[in-house]
């Protein structure tokens, strides 16, 4: 901070001009294009916007997820290289909390109190981010696009500054359940999920049950659980054998990538070949391929194990090179983050960054913190997502639907059937979404 002041006399001059402009324009923040940039909020200077995040860059949740923040940063660098937002460049600081709430708590306070961020963006993890959501809202710090599918981010009364991003697991469960009911009528369905007492697995089961009840399929009980610890990745043969013994033909799984791979490997090793229906977070084909073929499970396994897996998506498929968004983000990745792989995590981070830029632009030239909250609530943004956002003044849910997809033996995905949207209430209608996908702006910046 001090170096910026000492090195730039123009900044001082700019501040004086800005002060004069405030007097002249009576402090109007949404003035016309001729107003100069002002330091309109914490973290906003005439030339920069500083935002921050906590991410698992190391530790158990790091594989895959550690790519998200560097991918977002790559997109911000691209925006900065093309003039930034209202001529401000975006400074993105992300800190490693190792998926540990104690660290999240401290590092979030560092971002707010010491780094003076305008907003917290894309903070990752349910137990981690839950430890700071009250704090951020008490401090009135925008807490945007949380990287977690917990429906706990949608609580406008208590947490007016917090916004979710990805579809919550109940929404996913409902739409996957509907697909199972329609496609596998008369068959026996079993569950393999993270838990017990884990919101990821529990919310998914809630959605699945909601869609499957009274349908033409039988649901096997009990639910088979795995605990997300390193020891668990040794194998889930017992769980698979139990489902096999019950004659389960379709396994619905809410699992993180390592355990999806373990499930596929364990079932194959006992000669059990049901249909696997796996939630989005656990089905990224490049990540699964790397785990299976890279020997992460102790043996090298064929990629073809992922062939036939049914999943869902709310973003374009990473393997769809004909999609203009994929082409755009892939080329930005190649230029600004060449060491990152091209997979679902990178796409996830880039789309979040794109959405943030949309919101920042809509918040006006000299935004306050509440301006960006209102911008998200009223923006009705369309972008790379194939489903709409649920944002309004009474709803802070992110994407509110998914489209079912099938993964081929070579890892290529194909969409199956229409896009559906729904809510996370029991019995809430699942409706077909007919909006047309948008195309990226010519320069790739909203």
């Amino acid at each position: 901070m001090s170096s910026r002041i000492t090195t730039s006399k123009t900044a001082v001059a700019g501040a004086i001009c800005a002060a004069a402009a405030v007097v002249a324009a009576c402090g109007g923040s949404s003035g016309g294009g001729s107003t100069s940039n002002q330091a309109s909020a914490p973290g906003i200077t005439p030339t920069t916007v500083t935002i921050g995040s906590t991410q698992p860059l190391t530790g158990p949740a790091a594989p895959g997820y550690s790519e998200i923040a560097p991918a977002s940063k790559a997109y911000f660098q691209y925006v900065n290289a093309h003039g930034g937002v209202f001529n401000r460049s975006i400074n993105y600081t992300y800190l490693d909390d190792q998926y540990n709430p104690t660290a999240t708590s401290t590092l979030t306070r560092k971002l707010v109190l010491q780094d003076n961020v305008f907003a917290v963006f894309s903070a990752l993890g349910t137990p981690t981010h839950l430890s700071v959501v009250d704090y951020l809202n008490a401090q009135k710090v925008p807490d945007l696009l949380v990287s977690s599918g917990c429906n706990c981010w949608n609580n406008v009364a208590q947490h007016p500054y917090t916004f979710g991003y990805q579809p919550d697991y109940t929404i996913e469960g409902k739409i996957l359940g509907q697909y199972i009911k329609q496609t596998y009528a008369g068959m026996k369905v079993g569950y393999f999920v993270q838990g017990p007492n884990d919101e990821f697995g529990d919310d998914g089961v809630l959605g699945l049950n909601d869609a499957l009840q009274g349908g033409g399929v039988t649901v096997a009980s009990p639910v088979q659980y795995y605990a997300p610890t390193a020891a668990g990745a040794m194998g889930v043969k017992a769980e698979m054998a139990a489902l096999q013994g019950q004659g389960v033909q379709v396994i619905a799984a809410f699992s993180i990538p390592v355990f999806t791979a373990t499930m596929l490997a364990s079932a194959a090793s006992i000669g059990y070949h049901p249909t696997f229906v796996v939630s989005n977070v656990g089905s990224d084909a490049p990540t699964l391929t790397a785990i299976l073929t890279g020997g992460a499970l102790g043996v090298t396994l064929p990629q073809a194990l992922i062939g036939g897996v049914v999943t869902d998506a709310y973003l374009p498929l990473v393997s769809d090179s004909s999609n203009p968004w994929i082409t755009l983000f892939k080329s930005i990745k190649a230029q600004y983050a060449p060491t990152l792989p091209w997979d679902g995590n990178v796409l996830y981070g880039m789309v979040q960054a794109y959405t943030f830029v949309q919101a920042l632009k809509a918040a006006g030239q000299n935004p306050s913190r509440t301006d960006i909250v209102h911008a998200l609530e009223n923006g009705h943004f369309t972008g790379p997502g194939i489903v709409p956002f649920g944002y309004s003044s009474s709803n802070h849910l992110g994407y509110i639907g998914v489209q079912v997809a099938k993964i081929g033996p070579d890892g290529t995905g194909t969409f199956v059937g229409p896009v559906y949207t729904t809510d996370d209430t029991s019995g809430g209608a699942i409706t077909q979404y007919s909006g047309t996908p948008s195309t990226p702006p010519a320069n790739g910046i909203p």
Binding site: A62, P101, T106, R109, L113, T126, P127, S131, N197, D198
Partner: protein, 342 residues
Amino acid sequence: MNTLARHGLFFVAAAAVLVVVTYQVDEFTNYNIAGVAIFVIAAAGLTVLVGINGQLSLGHGALMAVGAYTTSLLLKAQPQTPLIATLLAAVITTGVAGAIIGVAAARLRGPYLAGATLALAVGLPQIATHFGSLFGGNQGLPVAPLSPPAFLGSDFSSNRWLAWVALLAALITLFLLANLVRSATGRRMRLVHDDETAARLAGIDVERTQVLAFIISAACAGLAGSLLAYQLGITSPTGFNLQLSLQLLSAIVIGGLGSLSGAVWGSILLVILPLKISDLAGNLNLSSDVANNLPLAVYGAVLVIAMLAFPRGIQGALLRIVGLARRAIRTIGPRPQASSPS
């Protein structure tokens, strides 16, 4: 002056200095001062167990979880419970848990004790996951932040208040422990550490001494856990992982095993160091694989170098420096005026 009065005077002076400090620093520093104070409480308790009494515990993080969950459950049932009551409840529950574990621990030696307490560190937090409806599962239990009492004024910083509470708790803990280790009980604990057979011959009940050390140590961990719940605003199993237990152990070894001052130095280092190096990687232009792991590598390297350079810990190094200085003065001895400014 007797030990009690000397310690009392020292801690009152320390409290006065620290209060002044909390007015001079910013919000985030106050938050970190509270973090150090909480860590000091747990580390000082562990020092009594490991450094003084010679029992190893790899499971103190789990005992902190007992304290944190006691406080969180109490506040969930009765949100208006006063601070002092939640802290005491945490101390008592964790003390009882410590007594039970201590009885088992007193029968175990060396690697068996390490293994048993390791199992505690891994297993105990899983109880919270398993009985999710009571303990909030992986999401944990929220805890309302401490608000400063009304008489301090409405604009009194909540982080400064948190620092005051944690510092007061830490100073009281250190005061009590400092007196304990210099008492007859403390001497019995040391003797059990040095030579169990000799202790038995001297008529000391070895098991009783060991269980007592475990209770005291656990009670400290409970107090620290309770304060941590207030500081973090949430109590969840992931916050009390094995890493926390190992960090506590690292703190007392790096600080200087067996000395309470060592526990303080070690705590300061382990809380502040990760914060100082968290920005490090961001400022360099490195590939993300390297950048992500750089702070951890630096952290590890600093700890390894510290142990190589000061095998007796920071406190040991400080004592050595003081010793060398004294010898230097003695050498110059006959001319004391040499030390006065010329």
